[in-house]
Symmetry: C2
Subunit: 721 residues, 2 copies
């Protein structure tokens, strides 16, 4: 779990032993929670600060201990014969001086004697009393999909009413913990508001990191609450600790190693030989569509139709079983009814086929859980990876492979998309075709009996043809594995996820659709952010991101400049920059002067650069050239306004010309464009997109959203200083 | 100001007199703020509860007063000779009993004597001390555009860190004030959290309403702060009052009455005769484009080209001046350079022309404020309404009038759109043409020297051809007038506004574009909500709303049902329902059973109704029919999945057939559709839109956003119980 990254001063050997002993005792006692002293001992072992306390057996000792820990303090009688301490007058709070403590000690002893003259008294506990500081909550939970998560939020009303809380996969280091503290809505409160002292954020971060380490070290700690934690100007103390245990063994999902996954995925996605089980010459049959698509898609490898009787299908020699095929087969596409799948899958296993593309429906999605389990068992036994069942198949364009019953797709590019749902897959195909999106792969994952999002990530990470991965999903069967892989992949390529079932209503539909309970959306949100995944807010946004982001070079810095012919677009583009987290460059005076040279005197200063509406092509040309030339500018947003003087295609051509001129000089900056005008702007937008400038007609938001997503990814991957 | 709607027990005659007297005194003293006793007196006059206080001149009297108002109390020396009360030992807080007060009185007097033996002492002020209750803020501000606004927010950190505050145009009644209290993020806190007592929301609402009445009655109260107000379980008390005055007379914007506006607008939008000033036979000239558009657009009225030399232009007799035209002219379209506009405008005035469409640029937007002021003066003198300057003109399709230099537009429908910016206007035209949006009008407002959004609203309100108004704006010159008109219009027709310059960055660009400082966005947001205006979040959203909303009948109730062939779409559509405030109907058992009859046994129960992917047209048909038939269902969202069994146009045709069957029976419910599939779904979407079912390819969000906006409008207009 990479705990070496955590610089925590946990006594390396002693600490875990202490915790282990306490947990073992609890397990032996068949308890699922810990007592306060046990919880405190665990906190002590992991360096989680709790209120100081000491046992005193005389008034003087009590006073000395109190002076040592600082005032005010609480005094409590310690006697196994006195259970109801308060009733017995055995508790005093808020003692503020040595004298008060001394007197208090005597009072408590007197009260105890009066209450029960025979009580055996061990002494008086002196405990540090917390009065100042801001209340926060630090906790940990165990999620079915993601495993151990650490949580941080403001205490009291802010977390209860405003749900102002954030999660991370455990363990995390102090830096990530600081990110949590800064990530909540009310973060400002801890930096000192209304002249108040700022809280000790470093101490809080340390405590969060320690909690995350503790729950990672001891899986049986199912839940942990430090609530409240007092965040003070100097230090942080957990006033109350609650620990819930779960000793039930967790089902471990079998996961092959990354190298093994990659090897299998390579055989599946770039096979030298494909079998079509249920291939058919009859129009309208799925086995016929699959054959047609593989052939018409131009797949150059071997094709083996499998059919119980036919000797030949569509010009290819047919076999009764994959086992009859004389040479090796990498992947088998299934186009037979559900009831025949298991039998054929076994034969695939015996044949040593790496992957089965299970198009047939009739498994978990129709309640046939058992049938699906049978497939999983066969898959594991023979080491065949299963795609689906209940899918449209997949496209992998670099191999010219359309292993699907949908129509072929041939606009090659660098976006790899996948969908859990077939309907969304169809929308991906339609949008791609309509928007001429360059695609490397489209994959249906359906019931995800085996292959899922992280297997695809592992493949696409290594696939040079793929520059972005966009995934629609309703759940993650194994969020922890996904996160582990995504954390690595997002350092190299953007990963966009459309997580459906975001909301209560949505989650309900998800569970009735796939039998998978959609996880808590807040956790998905926070984990995606933690591992650098860009979250799309809508289907269209996912599609626009997949289409636009790979066209853009990675920006070298944060300075974005808007150059616009329409002032009105400039305002809306600026709005969108704030919405999508882009920083409009504060224009240096010399650069402002340089821009002004090209624009009319009443054009607006600063950023946006408003070149005004009536300008000829040369004004666009000069200003865009300047934008590319000046190294202080890192990205451009163009706002075009359709005029007679500079018609849409004139604009598009001049932009491409300037951009190519700079590309030739080795200067590439991300550029997006918003085109306002009559329908001719649609052609211009398409032309610009094809030349590497994602451009959008009638929208001032989409171009900025696309650029914003590129920036978000690049920041997360550490590519922008 | 419709104050009769406010049921406040303000002593009708006495109260304003008291306030008037205090304000007059302050004005006479040239003060811009009030003393604490003055502010208190004003609060008393308006029934705004402040802490009780009394002057005591003996220890016994102090004790009696304190007992009367309840403990704890504060005691303060009252002496004009002692300014620094605390320094003089003249303040005691938290006195909890009659005895403490009696002793405190004596202490304060002794301290005062010791501090200044010669001080003349008027007595000791006894003041109620507030210790319990939640802190909230009630205030009022004066906005340049909207005038008096009342504000409400949670006190302390919530308003400071989370900016959790809401505004309304003053005055408001108690019901609206309750809406404010419920509208803040932390509203739940006032309903009692963690077992706490709920706050007296009625008392808070009463106080908000009284404040709103006060600032409305006395315009010179520029700002008012009750901060904090203690909201208790029983009552609310303003612990501190601050009032800032501004006696500078406000410039009153000349506003004709609604009937006069309507009469002028009717002549402008539906003229019997149009003059084109600067008409030209020369291609590429604006005056040529305008002539062509008016002629080619099919305008059936009289056209008078105005030109200094030509005898005839494009087959129409030309005149040297509008004054030479023998018959009446309603509107003049200007296509001449800025420097000639004023002269020609005067002639229009002398001719009695109702409106001038000022296409020329070169006025305020280029810094020529003076030139624009000159036009305004001429306009007012001759009672000519000015559209622009710096605009593309306008389209009004029911009159077949394209008074613009852009290309004609002829897809007639019921959406009236306007834009402040020319670039956005061009985007409106392009999008409309591309999406075949049915339009009644497209109007450019540009510099808004005279005609603005509320004049258009007044016209479109009365225009039977317009069923929705969508306006792009960067500022409102007179937000109060807009709000007054919008409040009325939104009861009849949806009004959608895209307010640009929403964000800090956006507002900066707005001010450099039009010279208009974009107002505080929070105020726009709250006022739009108050008056029932639907706010579009993006240009595309405004366009989609304008296109889709008028196609939908008004829903009769809140029960929305999703019928989907793609379970995956169902989940995303459900997500979108939550995002856009739609309520998925909790499916009654009998209805669930009825739906189940038509769908496969593994189709999902409840809502969404998941008919599953492989179903024939009859399944869509039967379930949609049931959705229209059952009176408990009020709106349908369809999720189509492209299959071989039910291809896109088969689906589209069957939907239209079922819908028309029910229309014939007088049953109309709003239906939207999301189409997932290959590019053929685009044709299906267009066909469905043309038949009154807004449908969207590759999007699960836009259909729901459009239906959600229709609902939002209908709720605001009181059309849904």
């Amino acid at each position: 779990m990479n705990s070496s990254a955590l610089e925590l001063e946990v006594p390396k050997h002693a600490a875990p032993d202490t915790v282990r002993r306490i947990l073992d005792q609890a397990k032996q006692d068949r308890r699922t929670s810990l007592t306060a002293p046990e919880a405190k001992a665990i906190c002590d072992a992991y360096g989680i600060t709790v209120p100081r306390e000491a046992l005193a057996t005389s008034a003087d000792e009590a006073a000395a201990r109190a002076a040592d820990m600082g005032f005010p303090v609480v005094l409590k009688i310690v006697s196994r014969d006195i259970l109801h301490k308060t009733e017995a007058g055995g508790v005093l709070v808020g003692l503020k001086s040595v004298d008060e403590v001394r007197a208090g000690y005597d009072t408590i002893l007197a009260n105890a004697k009066a209450y029960n003259a025979n009580a055996e008294i061990a002494g008086v506990q002196v405990q540090q009393m917390l009065t100042s500081g801001q209340e926060v909550i630090i906790g940990a939970v165990t999620d079915d999909s993601f495993g151990k998560l650490v949580a941080f939020g403001m205490g009291g009303i802010l977390v209860e009413v405003l749900k102002d809380i954030t999660f991370r996969l455990a363990p995390i280091d102090k830096d990530e913990a600081l990110g949590m503290i800064d990530g909540i809505q009310a973060a400002e409160m801890l930096r000192g508001v209304r002249g108040g002292e700022p809280a000790d954020r470093a101490a809080l971060a340390d405590m969060i990191a320690r909690v995350s380490r503790l729950v990672d070290d001891f899986p049986e700690i199912a839940e942990l609450d430090l609530n409240p934690v007092f965040a003070m100007a100097n230090g942080a103390i957990a006033a109350d600790v609650r620990i819930v245990l779960d000793f039930a063994p967790k089902e471990v999902r079998p996961r092959p190693g990354q190298a093994e996954i990659l090897a299998a995925m390579n055989r599946i996605m770039r096979p030298r030989a494909v079998a079509v089980i249920g291939a058919s010459a009859e129009n309208g049959k799925i086995g016929n569509s699959v054959m047609k698509n593989i052939i018409n898609g131009g797949y150059p490898g071997e094709i083996y139709p499998i059919h119980p009787q036919a000797a030949e299908i569509m010009g290819y020699k047919a076999y009764k079983s994959v086992k009859d095929v004389p040479s090796e087969i990498d992947v088998a596409v299934f186009a037979i009814p559900a009831k025949f799948v298991a039998g054929a899958l076994k034969e695939c296993g015996e044949k040593g086929i790496a992957g089965a593309v299970l198009i047939p429906s009739g498994f978990a999605e129709t309640g046939n859980e058992e049938g699906q389990r049978e497939l999983q068992e066969i898959g594991r036994k023979y080491n065949i990876r299963l795609m689906g069942p209940n899918i449209y198949g997949f496209y992998y364009l670099p191999a010219k492979l359309c292993a699907t019953f949908c129509t072929p797709y041939d606009v090659r590019g660098h976006a790899a998309l996948s969908s859990q749902s077939g309907g969304i897959g169809m929308a991906i195909i339609g949008f791609s075709r309509s928007a001429k999106m360059g695609v490397s792969a489209i994959v249906g994952l359906g019931n995800k009996s085996d292959l899922d999002e992280d297997d695809l990530l592992t493949f696409f990470e290594a696939d040079d043809e793929t520059h972005i991965v966009a995934q629609h999903l309703e759940d993650l069967k194994d969020g922890r594995s996904f996160a582990d892989v995504a954390r690595r992949v997002t350092k190299k390529k953007p990963v966009v996820v459309l997580k459906a079932g975001r909301t209560a209503a949505g989650a309900k539909a998800a569970s009735s659709h796939t039998g998978a309970l959609a996880g808590n959306d807040r956790i998905y949100e926070d984990v995606f952010k933690q591992v650098g995944v860009i979250r799309a807010r809508s289907l269209r946004e996912m599609l626009d991101f997949a289409r636009g982001i790979p066209k853009l070079p990675t920006p070298a810095g944060e300075n974005v400049v808007i150059i616009t012919g329409a002032g009105g677009s400039g305002v809306l583009l600026s709005d969108a920059c704030v919405d999508y987290g882009l920083k409009l460059m504060a224009m240096p005076e010399d650069l402002d002067t340089a821009f002004r040279k090209f624009i009319p005197p009443f054009g607006a200063a600063g950023n946006p650069v408003d070149i005004t509406g009536g300008e000829p092509p040369s004004t666009y040309q000069n200003t865009i050239r300047l934008g590319l030339e000046d190294p202080r500018i890192h990205a451009l947003i163009l706002g075009y306004w359709h005029t007679i003087i500079t018609p849409p295609m004139v604009f598009a051509n001049l932009v491409v010309q300037v951009v190519e001129e700079f590309r030739a000089k080795g200067i590439e900056k991300p550029i997006v464009a918003s085109l306002a005008g009559d329908v001719e702007v649609e052609e211009a937008a398409e032309f610009l997109y094809e030349h590497g400038i994602p451009s959008y007609a009638y929208s001032t938001e989409i171009p900025v959203a696309v650029l914003g997503a590129k920036y978000n990814w690049a920041r997360g991957a550490g590519l922008i200083r």
